[in-house]
C-alpha cells in the first residue's frame, strides 16, 4: 500500500516537473508572439505616428561590420536617425568580428532588423539562399532619393537573385592596383595603363630596386581573384564572361579568353614579379609590405588608406589605378564590389528597419561617407570634387572610373559562391607560386566549377 502511494507520489511529481517544462516552453513561444505583436504594433504606431507627425518607436537593431571603413559614418547616421525618432531605441551591433558574434542570433531566428553585409563571416548569397533576407523588390520601387527614384540613383543596381532584390548596394567599392605616387615620381617610373606597360613597369622597378614589384595576400587569395582577375575577365570578355566565370558556367574557365588571362598571370610569376613570400601572408601583412616599399603594386579596394592609416609613412602618397590587365589601346576595366544593406526576413520592427534604410540613401550621407571612409557610396550625382574633406586619391579615382575613355565598368551578377571561390583560389595560389601552369589551372578551375554546378 505504502509502495503504491510512493509510486503515485512519484508520478505526480514527474507530471508536475513535465508541466513546468511545458509551461516554460509555452511561455517562450508566448514571448515570441508578443514580441511579434509588439513588432506589428510598432508598425501600426508608425503608420499612425507618421500621419500624426510622430516618430518611430520600439527597438531597432542594426548590425554592421567595422573594417577598413571604420565606424564613424555609421555613428553619425545612426545618431541623426535617433534624433529624428527619439522614442525608438536603436541597438548597434558592431565590430570587426560582428558577423561571427551575431551568428547564433541568425541561426536561432532572432536576427537584428538591419544588416550591413561586409567582412569575414558574411555572405549575401548564402543569406539569400537561407531565406534570411526580406524581399525588397516591390518596396524599393517607391523609394526616392532627393526626389529621384532610388532604383534610378544607384551607380550599380542591386544584386539580382532570380528577379528578386534582397539587398541594396550601399558601398560602391572597387578593387584596383595601388602604388606610391611619390616613390614613382622620384624614380621616374611610368604608371601603367595596360598589361604590357604594367609588365615593363614591373621590370623597371625590379631592375632599379631588386624587389619583387607585386604583392598580394596568399592567405586570402580572393584579393587577387577579385582585384586582378575580375577586371581582366571584364576587359577580355565583358559582362558575359564575368557572369560565366562567377556562376561556374560549363566551359567558361577552360575558354581561350580565360586561358589568355591566366597566361598573363603565369608570365608575371615566371618573370619573378610576384613576391614569392605572398603565399603565407594575410592582407594586412601584404599591405604593410607595400607601405614599407618591399613591393610597389598591390591590389586592394578603396579601404586601403583608411585601414592602414596608422602605419602610412609620411611621404607616401596613395595612387590608384584600375588593375591594368587590359590589352594596349583598350580602356582599363573596373568591376565594382558592392557592400549591401539588407533587412532581415524575421525583423521584429520592419517599419523602422525600412525607414532606416530609406534614411541612409541620401546624397548628403553619400558625400559624408566619402569623407569618413575614403570610399564611395553607391549613389550617382554626388559631387566629391568640391568636397575638401574627400581624399584626393578618391577624387582622382572617381574621375578616372567615370571617364569611359580611361576605364569601363563591368558588373558581376552577384558575388561568387564560397564553394566555387575557395577551390579556385587554392589553384590560383599554386599558379602564382609557379607550381602549376596556366593550362593546369584552367583545368582545375573547370573541375571546381563542374563540382559546384553538380552541388546546386
Amino acid at each position: 500500500m505504502e509502495k503504491r502511494l510512493k509510486g503515485r507520489l512519484l508520478l505526480v511529481l514527474l507530471a508536475a516537473v513535465l508541466l513546468v517544462f511545458v509551461a516554460a516552453c509555452s511561455d517562450d513561444s508566448g514571448t515570441e508572439d508578443s514580441s511579434d505583436d509588439s513588432g506589428d504594433s510598432s508598425g501600426e504606431e508608425i503608420s499612425d505616428g507618421t500621419s500624426d507627425g510622430e516618430g518611430l518607436s520600439g527597438t531597432l537593431e542594426v548590425q554592421y561590420f567595422v573594417g577598413g571603413y571604420g565606424d564613424s559614418w555609421w555613428k553619425e547616421v545612426i545618431g541623426d536617425f535617433q534624433a529624428q525618432h527619439p522614442d525608438l531605441e536603436i541597438v548597434e551591433h558592431a565590430g570587426p568580428n560582428i558577423n561571427e558574434e551575431m551568428r547564433s542570433r541568425w541561426v536561432s531566428g532572432d536576427p537584428p532588423d538591419v544588416v550591413y553585409i561586409d567582412g569575414a563571416g558574411s555572405s549575401e548569397t548564402q543569406m539569400v539562399e537561407d531565406g534570411q533576407l526580406m524581399d525588397l523588390t516591390d518596396w524599393v520601387q517607391d523609394i526616392e532619393v532627393d526626389g529621384t527614384p532610388l532604383m534610378d540613383s544607384f551607380i550599380v543596381p542591386p544584386s539580382d537573385f532570380d528577379g528578386s532584390i534582397y539587398s541594396l548596394p550601399l558601398v560602391f567599392d572597387t578593387w584596383g592596383t595601388w602604388y606610391d605616387i611619390t616613390w614613382f615620381e622620384e624614380n621616374g617610373w611610368e604608371v601603367p595603363t595596360d598589361f604590357d606597360s604594367f609588365m615593363s613597369s614591373m621590370g623597371q622597378i625590379q631592375e632599379d630596386t631588386g624587389i619583387a614589384p607585386f604583392t598580394t595576400s596568399g592567405q586570402h587569395p580572393y584579393y587577387f581573384l577579385r582585384g586582378m582577375l575580375y577586371p581582366a575577365f571584364g576587359a577580355a570578355g565583358g559582362n558575359e564572361l564575368l557572369n560565366d566565370v562567377i556562376t561556374g558556367a560549363e566551359g567558361a574557365w577552360t575558354s581561350d579568353t580565360v586561358l589568355d588571362v591566366m597566361k598573363k598571370v603565369e608570365e608575371m610569376q615566371q618573370e619573378g614579379y610576384i613576391d614569392e613570400g605572398f603565399g603565407a601572408i594575410n592582407h594586412t601583412q601584404s599591405q604593410m609590405n607595400f607601405l614599407l616599399h618591399d613591393n610597389a603594386y598591390i591590389p586592394v579596394g578603396f579601404w586601403l588608406p583608411n585601414e592602414m592609416e596608422g602605419d602610412k609613412p609620411e611621404d607616401l602618397e596613395y595612387g590608384f589605378i584600375p588593375s591594368p590587365m587590359n590589352e594596349a589601346g583598350e580602356p582599363m576595366a573596373v568591376v565594382p564590389d558592392l557592400r549591401p544593406l539588407a533587412i532581415a526576413e524575421e525583423s521584429e520592427n520592419p517599419e523602422a528597419a525600412k525607414a532606416f534604410v530609406e534614411f541612409v540613401y541620401t546624397k548628403e550621407y553619400a558625400s559624408l561617407f566619402s569623407e569618413h571612409t575614403g570610399a564611395i557610396m553607391n549613389l550617382e550625382g554626388v559631387d566629391l570634387a568640391s568636397n575638401k574633406n574627400v581624399p584626393q586619391y578618391l577624387i582622382d579615382a572617381n574621375e578616372m572610373i567615370n571617364d569611359p575613355e580611361q576605364a569601363e565598368i563591368y558588373h558581376k551578377p552577384h558575388p561568387m559562391s564560397a564553394d566555387l571561390e575557395t577551390p579556385i583560389s587554392d589553384s590560383l595560389v599554386s599558379l602564382m607560386l609557379g607550381n602549376i601552369t596556366a593550362e593546369e589551372f584552367v583545368e582545375e578551375a573547370e573541375a571546381a566549377a563542374a563540382e559546384y554546378r553538380n552541388s546546386q
Binding site: V107, S123, M127, G277, G279, A280, I281, D294, L433
Partner: protein
C-alpha cells in the same frame, strides 16, 4: 558509526549526478548533436536544413582534400611525438642527472612556452618565418646561406614542415616536467647498483631510466597524439590558414573552413565525426602498441 546503504548511495549520487549532468551537457550533447547534424545539408547560419542521409559521408570519400588533411595530421603527430619526446627526455635527464646548478632556471625557461597561448605562439613564429624580416632567413643570410632562404610558410613544399618546429617548441616544457617527475622517483640506489656492475651513463639510461619512466612516456605519447589530432587546428589556422593551396590543412582546419567559411555545416559535422573515429582508432591502437609489463627492480 556504520553508514547505511541508503546514505552510501545518497553520497555516491551527490558526487556523481552533478558531474554526469555537466558531462552530458558539455560533452555528450555536442557529440550527439554533431552526429545528428552530419546527416543534414545546412549552412550553419540559419535554421534551414535538409536531411541527406549519408551523403555527407559519401562526400568524405570523394573529397580529394580529406586524405591530404589526414596525412598532414599524422605527419604532425609523428614528428611531434618524436621531436617532443627526444627533446623533453634529453632536457629532463640533463636537468635531473647532470647536477646543473642553473637547473631551476632552465626548468622555467623550457616550460615558458606552455603558459603562452597557442595563438600567440603562432603569431610569434609567423614573424620568425617572415621571408623578409624573419629571424630564420636573416640568420641564414648572416651565415652566408642565402640559397637556403625561402618563404617558409608560403611554399607548398615547406609550409607543413615549418609548422613542426613551433609545435615542438610549444610542447616540450610540459612533458619535460612529467618526465622529470618520473626520473626523480627512481631510487638513487638503482643507479649506484648499476654503476657497481660497471654500467656507463648510456647503459644506465637505457636499462634503468627508460624502463622506469615508461608509464610517463606512454602517457606523454598518448597525450601528444590526442592533442595533435584535435588541436593542431589552432596553429594551422593562425600561421597559414591551411594554405598555400591546402598544403597545411589538417582535419580540424578543413572542418572549420567547410563549416564556417564555405557554409557547409553538415559536411563539417561529418568531418568532425571522422576526426572522432580516427582519434579513437589511433588511441586504441597506441594503447595496444605501448602496452608493456610494469618494470620493477
Amino acid at each position: 558509526m556504520v553508514q547505511s546503504k541508503k546514505q552510501k548511495y545518497l553520497f555516491l549520487a551527490f558526487c556523481l549526478i552533478p558531474t554526469f549532468i555537466m558531462f552530458s551537457i558539455f560533452t555528450l550533447y555536442p557529440l550527439f548533436s554533431g552526429l545528428y547534424y552530419s546527416f543534414f545539408e545546412m549552412s550553419g547560419s540559419s535554421q534551414a536544413r535538409e536531411f541527406v542521409g549519408f551523403d555527407n559521408y559519401i562526400q568524405l570519400f570523394k573529397d580529394e582534400i580529406i586524405p591530404a588533411t589526414i596525412w598532414h595530421d599524422y605527419f604532425l603527430v609523428i614528428t611531434k611525438v618524436i621531436g617532443i619526446m627526444i627533446m623533453a627526455m634529453f632536457i629532463a635527464v640533463a636537468l635531473t642527472q647532470l647536477k646543473i646548478k642553473e637547473a631551476p632556471f632552465y626548468r622555467i625557461i623550457f616550460f615558458f612556452p606552455n603558459i603562452m597561448s597557442v595563438v600567440v605562439i603562432g603569431i610569434l613564429w609567423a614573424f620568425i618565418y617572415n621571408p623578409d624580416l624573419g629571424l630564420i632567413n636573416s640568420g641564414l643570410e648572416f651565415l652566408g646561406l642565402e640559397e637556403w632562404t625561402r618563404a617558409w610558410l608560403g611554399n607548398e613544399s615547406w609550409a607543413l614542415t615549418s609548422l613542426v618546429l613551433p609545435s615542438i617548441w610549444a610542447g616540450i616544457g610540459l612533458f619535460m616536467l612529467l618526465l622529470m617527475g618520473g626520473i626523480a622517483n627512481i631510487p638513487k640506489s638503482y643507479y649506484e647498483a648499476a654503476r657497481i656492475d660497471g654500467a656507463n651513463e648510456w647503459q644506465q639510461f637505457w636499462k634503468v631510466t627508460l624502463p622506469l619512466v615508461w608509464p610517463q612516456i606512454r602517457i606523454s605519447i598518448l597525450y601528444i597524439v590526442i592533442t595533435t589530432l584535435n588541436g593542431s587546428f589552432i596553429i594551422v589556422q593562425v600561421m597559414t590558414g591551411g594554405g598555400p593551396n591546402n598544403a597545411t590543412h589538417v582535419m580540424g582546419s578543413y572542418l572549420y573552413q567547410q563549416a564556417f567559411q564555405q557554409y557547409n555545416f553538415g559536411y563539417g559535422a561529418a568531418i568532425g565525426v571522422m576526426i572522432l573515429v580516427i582519434s579513437l582508432i589511433t588511441v586504441l591502437f597506441l594503447q595496444l602498441l605501448l602496452r608493456r609489463e610494469k618494470v620493477e627492480y
